[in-house]
């Protein structure tokens, strides 16, 4: 990127908007994870032996299901942003970087989709 095109992008606010959006998303998901992550670990403590029926019963409560989904959503988003930053720092070839970042995004999307479908199945009582 030449200096001129950088200034052009900056003056149009494109670059700044993208960068500050990333910054805010990272902070917001961090605070969400602070809450949902702590909730998840406390819940694990209450599910002492992690026996199947107890875990299934816990995960099929609508509130727990909802919390698990929010936890996964913020975790997936935060993880994507973090791995993207690391990729941008250490992968210097633009093509390779682009491919890796898109793979990271797709991979996280798949994980969150799997969790969403699983939680729905548990909620609807399809798991046995």
């Amino acid at each position: 990127m030449t200096l001129k095109s950088l200034i052009n992008l900056t003056s149009k606010g494109v670059l700044l908007k993208k960068a500050s959006g990333h910054w805010w998303a990272q902070r917001i998901t961090a605070i969400m994870l602070l809450l949902f992550g702590s909730w998840f670990l406390v819940s694990l403590c209450t599910l002492q032996d992690l026996q199947y029926l107890a875990v299934l019963h816990w995960a099929s409560q609508p509130l727990n299901s909802f919390m698990l989904f929010l936890f996964s959503l913020s975790l997936g988003y935060h993880s994507t942003l973090g791995l993207e930053i690391i990729t941008e720092d250490y992968i210097h070839k633009p093509n390779k970087r682009k491919i890796l970042i898109s793979l990271i995004e797709k991979f996280h999307l798949i994980l969150v989709l799997i969790i969403g479908i699983s939680l729905l199945r548990i909620l609807l009582g399809d798991a046995q």
């Binding site: 902070r27 961090a30 605070i31 994870l33 602070l34 992550g37 702590s38 670990l41 694990l44 403590c45 002492q48 992690l50 199947y52 029926l53 875990v55 299934l56 995960a59 698990l68 996964s72 975790l75 997936g76 993880s79 973090g82 791995l83 690391i86 996280h108 994980l111 799997i114 969790i115 479908i117 699983s118 939680l119 199945r121 548990i122 399809d126 798991a127 046995q128």
Partner: protein
């Protein structure tokens, strides 16, 4: 031709490692570890939805020596990333940047993450 004898900027290996540098590296390392943990978390949630036999399989893995070691590591990574993350959020408000403050918060983050990890496994 590039003149090879030109001086280079000092590389990481030159420095005596200050605590702040170690924590910065650990924040990234634990972040990457937790991303891998997210995959196991997904498999665990998926196995709940697929029935008791699948669940037993994922439970067997997590209950094995490797699984337990990974869970210990992940729990520490989680608490460390959480404590150091709070440190970062505090910095985002523009405070805590003096040399003293930065080192003090570093040791605080380490102590709290160790205490949280031990407490968690003591309860669970």
């Amino acid at each position: 031709m590039v003149n090879r004898s030109r001086p280079l900027s000092p590389h990481l290996t030159i420095y005596r490692w200050p605590i702040t540098m170690i924590l910065s590296i650990m924040h990234r390392a634990t972040g990457i570890a937790l991303s891998f943990g997210f995959v196991i978390f997904t498999i665990w949630i998926g196995s709940i939805s697929m029935g008791s036999s699948s669940y037993e399989l994922s439970f067997l893995f997590l209950d094995s020596a490797i699984g337990q070691a990974l869970l210990w590591l992940w729990s520490f990574a989680f608490f460390f990333h959480l404590c150091n993350g709070i440190r970062h959020l505090y910095w985002d408000t523009g405070r805590g940047f003096s040399k003293n403050s930065v080192e003090c918060s570093a040791y605080t983050a380490i102590i709290f993450s160790v205490v949280f990890t031990i407490t968690f496994w003591w309860i669970v």
